[in-house]
Symmetry: C2
Subunit: 348 residues, 2 copies
């Protein structure tokens, strides 16, 4: 089930880059870390037109491509060399579901956002010989990776667009993610991560899906039945056909790894600074983008962080779809993001 | 565990009124329905100063007394005869946890808000000989009961204050309450409601508590650590010492009964009308009170309903505590409610 879901058929075409054995910040080691990625467009001879776009929670490079890339858009493959990279643990890059025993499943080591970004840095320097990125952007957990890039490699990142995410987890986000984790791990079939088949844990995955959309969308979304705009007929149809359909085919250990990474991210850790000190290191021209109605990362927390970044501006976008507007179904939201990214890329 | 929690020690003093066998709207029958209640103040000789204040989800008459009653307040026992009544299934009135076998636990019949209000009507007419209420008010599920009162007995209710609740469930509220129900019933120890001891289901109750506070408070509440104002030191301390402490001693079947009642309430049902038709029947002077940041009942849904009530006004109160501001810890919220109720009671 897991293997067929995390496939080239559903998420490809993608390639993989091998980083060999990779030591992790929290002390573990991944044997032969492979990052799955897809590129679009041509790298210029000056190598100054590369854009890096890492994935969000429970998503792959495919959805980023489908929603945000295209001619005439901000992320235009005719102008830019766009690298979509799958974060560690998302099922395409090395993950609990595809690691070789005995390093698999519940024994997969703890990974942090810092590990992802160190791995991505090695990948794009070794593979493409890059020494700068015209833009790093990402939504949600992708915003976390964007912050980490801009803080860890300040001279490498020319522009940054962290969207609907924070550089440091807040108590609210921790409470939220703890509820997600509990929903999955409380399924007796989860068995401490040693389930036989991922789909045996479907009850926990469905429970998680229910909370995911509750906080991920807004009361207005539900009460106006905005699911009709993407082809669902009722609350039940939406819960099952959208939310459960998204999570039930996925691997529970993968999701727990991602959720733990999400919950515990703190941009200051890798540079041994507090949040303000870490954000002050950013040299990139930065547009911090918040969703007004975001039920995962609050606008207040995002705005506070933006105020600590030297060369930055806060851009707030409104959507009744809430945080999960990132899936691209709200055309007005999509247009706002695209316009904002064009403005950022158009600047010096 | 359940029996000691639902006790006079913790929730009293309260009295009970027996309604005998009581037929329910959905076809069941409660053998010897008893409503637990507490009264404050004196009924005037004209019997025109009675206020009815039913309970919210998972609360008893005790918390209403402690938070909202007192000399100089809107609900002043020196001026009014105040009846606090416990809804069916809350553990003090007849409930799954205290009904006699074979009508107990998972076999307790389905109850609706309409049943509560019919029972309360019989109780206060038989016991006190009332033919009018100066005010019916309630928060959350108490707002549902308030709406039902004002619609079912329009000449009886002179003033109504439904606070932070709706006359008809919305898809968002349904999604929310379904998550609450799933959190409890998914605990294997729940066993279809046939657990031996309520506390065996503590994992499900804790899970429920986690989602309850997540949506019940606001991101600002969490991120500013407002729990410090009520004596908790951290997120963990608050989750365990406040949310879990509230739910773990309660009876899972009681909570499921209340949640089902909450989820399925539709004010139009009992009068065979649609929502607009039902609300148009209200004769009471009505202040509909919404919490701006409410994560259980959205302001938009509440405002829409208010627009359908003839002699009504919408009052919006803001609180970073969100829906659960009703517990009274936010002094500014409390003062706003008190002032609004005084205005309503002061009018003709």
């Amino acid at each position: 089930m897991s293997l067929s879901y995390y496939s080239q058929d559903l998420h490809g075409p993608f390639e993989t880059f091998s980083l060999g054995d990779f030591e992790l910040e929290q002390g573990g080691k991944i044997r032969n870390l492979e990052l799955a990625y897809a590129t679009f467009g041509q790298l210029s001879t000056k190598k100054d037109n590369a854009i890096l776009f890492p994935t969000w929670y429970s998503g792959s490079s495919k959805v980023l491509e489908q929603v945000y890339l295209g001619p005439g858009r901000a992320l235009d493959p005719e102008k830019y060399f766009i690298i979509l990279v799958n974060q560690i643990g998302n099922g395409l890059s090395t993950s609990p579901s595809n690691a070789r025993p005995p390093y698999d499943a519940a024994r997969f080591p703890a990974v942090s956002i810092g590990d992802d970004v160190r791995g991505q840095h090695k990948f794009i320097t070794d593979k493409f010989g890059l020494s700068e990125l015209a833009l790093v952007l990402g939504f949600s957990m992708g915003a976390q990776q964007t912050y980490e890039w801009a803080i860890r490699y300040p001279d490498f990142v020319k522009r940054a667009a962290p969207i609907a995410g924070t550089a440091k987890g807040t108590p609210y986000t921790r409470a939220l993610v703890d509820n997600f984790i509990e929903a999955i791990t409380s399924d007796p079939a989860f068995d401490g991560g040693w389930y036989k088949e991922a789909r045996d844990v479907h009850r926990g995955l469905r429970r998680h899906a229910g909370i995911f959309i509750l906080a991920g969308h807004t009361p207005v979304f539900f009460d106006q039945g905005l699911w009709k705009k993407i082809g669902f007929s009722s609350l039940e149809d939406f819960v099952t056909g959208y939310a459960e359909a998204h999570f039930v085919p996925q691997d529970p250990n993968n999701l727990i790894l991602l959720l733990t990474k999400w919950r515990d991210y703190d941009a200051g850790k890798s540079v041994c600074r507090d949040l303000a000190g870490a954000l002050a290191q950013i040299k990139a021209k930065t547009f911090v983008i918040a969703i007004e109605e975001d039920g995962y990362f609050s606008r207040a927390a995002i705005a506070h962080e933006q105020s600590l970044i030297p060369n930055s501006a806060l851009k707030t976008v409104s959507s009744s779809w809430g945080h999960l507007a990132l899936f691209g179904a709200d055309q007005a939201f999509y247009e706002s993001i695209d316009t904002t990214l064009k403005e950022l890329l158009g600047g010096s």
